[in-house]
């Protein structure tokens, strides 16, 4: 159905803004509960082995300690099927940092101190945490879809491999060839709000205030683990202090908190420390990616091969869709992508903003830059020349694809025509200056599992109920706007309620599918409500009000169209000639994200993605010490994320283009496409500035010092 737009498309101020600027918005740890006890976890200090002895006497004897939980006294879970959630069900240790117990006490200070008093003895086994493409135990993923809960080989449900034509023959015959290997390190989400669960039981009902991207999914996971009817579990989360994928899945800490509350018969608060987040809430897995491109003398690609080795955990399979982006980006008659997993004795990875796309497009778009140079073509022109008419692997049309418009408009806004083709040609004082470009893409799906209830009051007020989430993404505001238009009322007449499993179920905020899925559900329900008012109530809401609940319909177009957001990103980079320090004074992106619901919050999301992409390009790397098996730079002083001073001008624009097939709003996903390609644009600009090609993220100054930056 089509909806007349009044609220949608207006830059409404964030509705949750006033609460947030005062610090009055309530996050997981802040829900008032009666006499909370505090939990501090015990974590394994070996990478692989067994716990053979635990001395908890000293900890248990500390005043104000309520209980010490270990695998010996932990409640048996109803399901230990999900290895990450099977907390304290055996003495096995599968990674360093794994939860092996917890101390529950009257105060957080006591719990933490007492945890240090527990003595653990292990039987250690050899571990292996090295990601190498020549490992002999690489395997093709089988069933990793949606945390091993769906069908399909990769996490997003895609097949692990794809092939069209004869890549090897085409590469051998190509006049211009590129064969390069790119690597990306472990990245950690590091949302500002540490993961927290506050759990309480009353009779056999469990309530968890949990920082989560999806209360429904978290509830279902917890209900399964504890063997409860989902109706007896309530998860509440009106505000999320950042997530970026790390709070989609509910992780082991939430299970531990619920167990602890069971033991002490009181509400238990468990807020992870920043350091614990580096082993307990997932991370972006490291990759080794080999890209081979072949082109004809006119700069038309004849072959594309993208072969990926990506790490997973032995504890639980997780297979990221690193090369899937390559399947849809550029035309070439011969093409291949493969994914192989390296099983390591490390914590379980998870989705992180644009999972797979972020790493995959760094490699592909760096390679495209290298290939453009090899072909003697401008990198923007080279991309346009290889733009496909239809999805190159499936032959399906795109629901909408305006990448070329993004490239052209971005080039114009950025002043790309002032760029010289030669690298290391521009110097301002001590700084070498260069510019680079990259394309962006991210799938724009709709997730199933959404139901909305709308209550219309005779006063014209409407209450919209759906267990959606706002991670800072603007859901409170954008979904209210969608509802207002769908109901034909003003934003003031809509009261939205989200973030609580007491509301109708919703899919998690993830996969850039949040607003598109929840919005579709809201529009559907609003349409039924209006039809009902017209058909049975003469167009007037009855005095007692009216309530309609309905599920989100499937999208009949989903099987016939390739649905993706796109974008083009441009970066200006300065590299210090003496020190190799890299600065990014300017980033500019133009995106194709369908119809934009709220230009103000949408712009913020795109800017935020690009900023995180800058951070990925220059700063972020979880360093694993192979001897111990853990990330050793596990705090915000050592694991750098971009600070104010690292971020210069960032601009985000979009092409005004509604997508006719994705959903009734005509929108596409914007949460992730912003981070995709930023790192490549910066790496390409670094090459333009210095002549040095950095194929291994992050681009730290030592990589630019190794070769003299300037020939004297």
């Amino acid at each position: 159905m089509s909806v007349i737009s009044h609220a949608v498309g207006t830059p409404l101020d964030r509705l949750d803004g006033p609460d947030k600027v005062k610090g009055a918005a309530v996050y997981a740890a802040e829900h008032p509960v009666d006499r909370p006890a505090y939990l501090y976890p015990l974590q394994a200090t070996i990478a692989v082995g067994r716990v053979i002895a635990l001395d908890t006497a000293a900890a248990g004897a500390e005043p104000d300690v309520l209980a010490v939980l270990t695998h010996r006294n932990a409640p048996r879970l109803a399901s230990a099927h999900d290895a990450e959630l099977a907390v304290l069900q055996s003495d096995e240790v599968a990674y360093r940092g794994q939860i092996i117990g917890g101390v529950i006490a009257e105060t957080p200070e006591t719990a933490r101190h007492a945890a240090h008093l527990v003595r653990v003895t292990y039987a250690e086994r050899a571990h292996d945490v090295a990601l190498r493409p020549d490992r002999d135990d690489l395997y093709k993923p089988l069933n990793a879809a949606f945390f091993c809960r769906g069908g399909g080989e990769l996490m997003d449900g895609s097949p692990a491999d794809s092939a069209v034509g004869d890549v090897d023959a085409a590469l051998a015959a190509a006049e211009v060839r590129l064969d390069a290997t790119y690597t990306t390190p472990i990245n950690h989400h590091n949302p500002m709000e540490p993961h927290t669960a506050v759990a309480l039981w009353s009779d056999d009902e469990l309530t968890v205030y949990c920082s989560t991207q999806g209360v429904t999914l978290s509830r279902d996971l917890l209900a399964t683990v504890f063997g409860l009817d989902p109706r007896r579990v309530r998860v509440v989360c009106p505000h999320v202090g950042g997530a970026f994928g790390s709070k989609v899945y509910c992780h082991s800490y939430a299970v531990l908190a619920a167990m602890a509350a069971q033991i002490v018969h009181r509400p238990v608060k468990f807020a992870l420390t920043r350091r614990q987040m580096f082993s307990l809430v997932g991370y972006r897995p490291a990759t080794v990616q080999r890209i081979r491109l072949g082109a004809d003398p006119g700069g038309r690609l004849t072959a594309i091969a993208h072969d990926v080795v990506v790490q997973t955990a032995k504890a639980k399979g997780y297979a990221e869709q690193v090369a899937v982006c390559t399947r849809c980006m550029y035309a070439a008659p011969h093409r291949r992508t493969t994914h192989r997993l390296a099983p390591l004795d490390l914590p379980v990875p998870t989705i992180m903003r644009a999972p797979g796309q972020a790493q995959g497009m760094f490699a592909l778009e760096s390679a495209m830059d290298e290939m453009a140079i090899a072909c003697g073509l401008d990198p923007v022109e080279f991309r346009i020349r290889n733009e496909p008419g239809v999805d190159p692997e499936t032959g399906r049309p795109f629901s909408s694809r305006h990448l070329v418009d993004c490239l052209r408009d971005g080039a114009r806004r950025f002043g790309w025509d002032r760029r010289g083709p030669v690298s290391r040609a521009r110097r301002e004082g001590a700084w070498l200056v260069g510019t680079g470009v990259s394309a962006s893409t991210h799938p724009s799906p709709r997730f199933a599992g959404n139901t909305t209830t709308i209550r219309a009051g005779p006063d014209g007020r409407h209450t919209v109920l759906i267990a959606a989430a706002d991670l800072g993404t603007g859901t409170w505001t954008a979904l209210t706007q969608i509802a207002a238009d769908a109901l034909g009322v003003t934003v003031d007449e809509v009261e939205l309620r989200i973030g609580d499993t007491a509301l109708p179920p919703a899919s998690p905020a993830g996969g850039s599918a949040g607003i598109d899925s929840w919005g579709t559900s809201v529009v559907e329900t609003a349409g039924r409500l209006r039809a009902l008012i017209d058909s049975h109530h003469g167009g007037v809401v009855p005095p007692q009000g009216l309530e309609v609940t309905s599920d989100m319909p499937d999208n009949p177009d989903a099987a016939h169209y390739a649905m993706h957001s796109f974008g083009a990103q441009f970066a200006e980079v300065r590299v210090h000639a003496d020190t190799g320090e890299v600065r990014v004074p300017r980033l500019l992106g133009v995106f194709d994200a369908g119809r934009v619901i709220n230009p103000k919050t949408a712009r913020s999301q795109l800017l935020g993605g690009m900023t995180m992409g800058l951070s990925m390009a220059l700063h972020e790397q979880g360093v694993v010490d192979p001897r111990f098996g853990h990330v050793v730079n596990g705090d915000l002083a050592e694991y750098h994320i971009a600070s104010h001073a690292d971020v210069g001008s960032v601009e985000a624009y979009w092409v005004e283009a509604e997508d006719p097939h994705t959903n009734p709003m005509g929108s596409k996903g914007i949460g992730e496409v912003g981070i995709v390609g930023t790192a490549a644009a910066i790496a390409n600009a670094v090459h333009h500035a210095t002549g040095i090609r950095v194929r291994d993220l992050p681009i730290t100054l030592d990589k630019l010092l190794r070769q003299p930056v300037v020939e004297e």
């Binding site: 964030r14 740890a29 920043r274 960032v650």
Partner: protein, 167 residues
Amino acid sequence: MEITLRVDGQERRLVVDTRTSLLDALRERLGITSPKKGCDHGQCGACTVLLGGRRALSCLALAVAYEDAEIVTAAGLAEGGDLHPMQRSFIDHDALQCGYCTPGQIVSAVGMLAEAEAGWPSAVSADPDADEVVLDDAEIAERMSGNLCRCGAYVNIRPAIAEVARR
């Protein structure tokens, strides 16, 4: 031990452990959750409060050591129902997303403007001995770098601060 803290203009009696940070005293003992715990080690700025008018990190301050200080949180910046101009400007510029670093950013910005007003230089000041500080984008960025924002709202936060600085 029992101590008195003066928070947002109110005297509050509470019992703390010597180990209790000012941040935990506010959040866990007094239920004042405007200052946020992001790292608990002085590495993120989310817990920034004004201590005696100067911005400081409440996670590294022990509550027992600050009995005599005037403590202001973001909640206390809003007088009555009215938002502080910095809070209003943050909303206008959409200088927040998840909102978790936001109270710290705002308190830090208010403290930072007072420092600039006092003529304090920064690491990027062209003339460190200048009498007046000109708060251009680079100055604001440097002075605000102790407040991390993972959502990447920096490019909206700085214009929000600049607008208040101009008034």
